[in-house]
Symmetry: C2
Subunit: 103 residues, 2 copies
């Protein structure tokens, strides 16, 4: 993983709300209500539920999720009007490995 990516991910992790979102997404069943429509968390959790749990404004959460997605910490999947977010385990591992081995 290149330096730029490591820096962007580190910035994303340097905020309590974003760090918690990442943690919550580890275990959607225990951190969020079920999705009415979908009935599963295969693509993660929809933005509204994350907003409700985080307790910040819709626009703030939207931009937080967007920056987490831009640096590939999370993966966005759209189902109709809903945006679902799940962890990008591969990139998280790469981040940890890069720091461990290179930085």
């Amino acid at each position: 993983m290149n330096e730029e990516q490591i820096i962007e991910i580190s910035k994303a992790l340097g905020n309590p709300t974003r760090l918690r979102i990442l943690k919550w997404l580890r275990d959607p069943e225990n951190n969020f209500p079920p999705h009415e429509d979908l009935g599963h968390f295969d693509d993660g959790v929809c933005a509204s539920h994350i907003k409700d749990k985080a307790g910040l404004s819709q626009s703030t959460i939207s931009s937080f999720l967007s920056m987490m997605e831009k640096c590939n910490l999370i993966i966005l999947t759209r189902h109709g009007k809903w945006s679902y977010f799940k962890r990008n385990e591969k990139v998280i591992k790469e981040y940890l490995n890069s720091i461990e081995l290179e930085y």
Copy 2:
């Protein structure tokens, strides 16, 4: 490692100069000139050498090193008028483990 510490370390890693300093300190022999007085890198590298390599002002580097030390990423040892900095491998490992297992 608690959330606050993870956040502070992530912030420290979210800047190219600080990230590079951490990397350089992995291998002082190959990244810095020898210490005239000391003749070894047992306590790391002195602030001036880090400043020269980073190419930022002395005050900027001083505050960068200070914040890296406050969040325990690096360990400061003073020898007379020189401040030497080395990596805190234990804390770096704890950071990576915490993210891997909790976040």
